[in-house]
């Protein structure tokens, strides 16, 4: 069974330096959409990948885009410099992205991320304005729809501050 909270809790517990992006970030910001994967933006460097491996330990993580579905193995360093890593796990699908469409690298995404309390842990989530930019840039009909939802949320947020 998919457990977004389970995945995020593990990443947070291992101090993975990540920003929640994509459809699940839209859900957190208030979108009514349903998505089948958790997208997180990370740096594909050694410390981050080591913490990712610790977080996924015991979850039967496998490479999703490879038909043989190989396990992650035990060497996080072989993924240093990757752009993306697409995985299935016992808690659901999770995609690690080195950059976000319309925005750029992890550092750019991270610069305007917001920290939200999710139950007993906190998660950094791509900022609402940035997420709208990314969804508009992706340009698929479903992305435009989510972007429109988020624009309504943004307008409401601005109104409530004035």
């Amino acid at each position: 069974m998919a457990s977004t909270l389970g995945l995020l809790r593990r990443l947070a517990a291992e101090n993975v330096d990540f920003v929640l992006v994509g459809g699940m970030a839209a859900v957190v910001h208030g979108s009514a959409s349903v998505t089948e994967d958790v997208d997180v933006c990370i740096r594909f460097d050694e410390p981050t990948l080591r913490s990712v491996f610790r977080a996924l330990e015991g979850l039967n993580a496998r490479e999703r885009m490879n038909a043989a579905r190989p396990t992650l193995g035990s060497d996080p360093l072989r993924f240093v410099g990757y752009r993306n890593l697409y995985l299935t796990t016992d808690h659901g699908v999770i995609d690690f992205l080195g950059e976000l469409t319309g925005l750029g690298s992890f550092d750019r995404v991270s610069a305007h991320a917001v920290t939200l309390q999710v139950g007993d842990f906190s998660v950094r989530v791509v900022g609402l304005e940035d997420l709208i930019i990314s969804k508009r840039t992706l340009g698929r009909p479903k992305d435009h729809r989510v972007a429109r939802e988020l624009e309504l949320v943004l307008a409401q947020s601005r109104n409530s501050k004035t």
């Binding site: 457990s3 977004t4 859900v27 208030g30 979108s31 349903v34 998505t35 729809r145 309504l152 409401q156």
Partner: protein
């Protein structure tokens, strides 16, 4: 959190504003829990549809607009 009222425009016909307003009353944790429950329902309904038809109807639907 109190109920909010979104200001729609004419382009929002396909957006469920009532649902969106309800979601804004939830905490981030509640939104994720609600999402995961909805996803499980979607998966169960897809499975039921596939078993009923004997194939995955989504494959047919997505192929409909393709090139020959």
């Amino acid at each position: 959190m109190s109920r909010v009222k979104l200001a729609p425009s004419e382009v929002d016909e396909d957006i469920d504003l009532d649902l969106l307003e309800y979601l804004l009353t939830l905490t981030p944790e509640q939104r994720i829990e609600r999402h995961d429950a909805a996803l499980e329902l979607v998966k169960a309904l897809r499975k039921a549809g596939t078993e009923h038809h004997g194939f995955d109807p989504r494959a047919v639907a997505s192929a409909g607009g393709g090139e020959r």
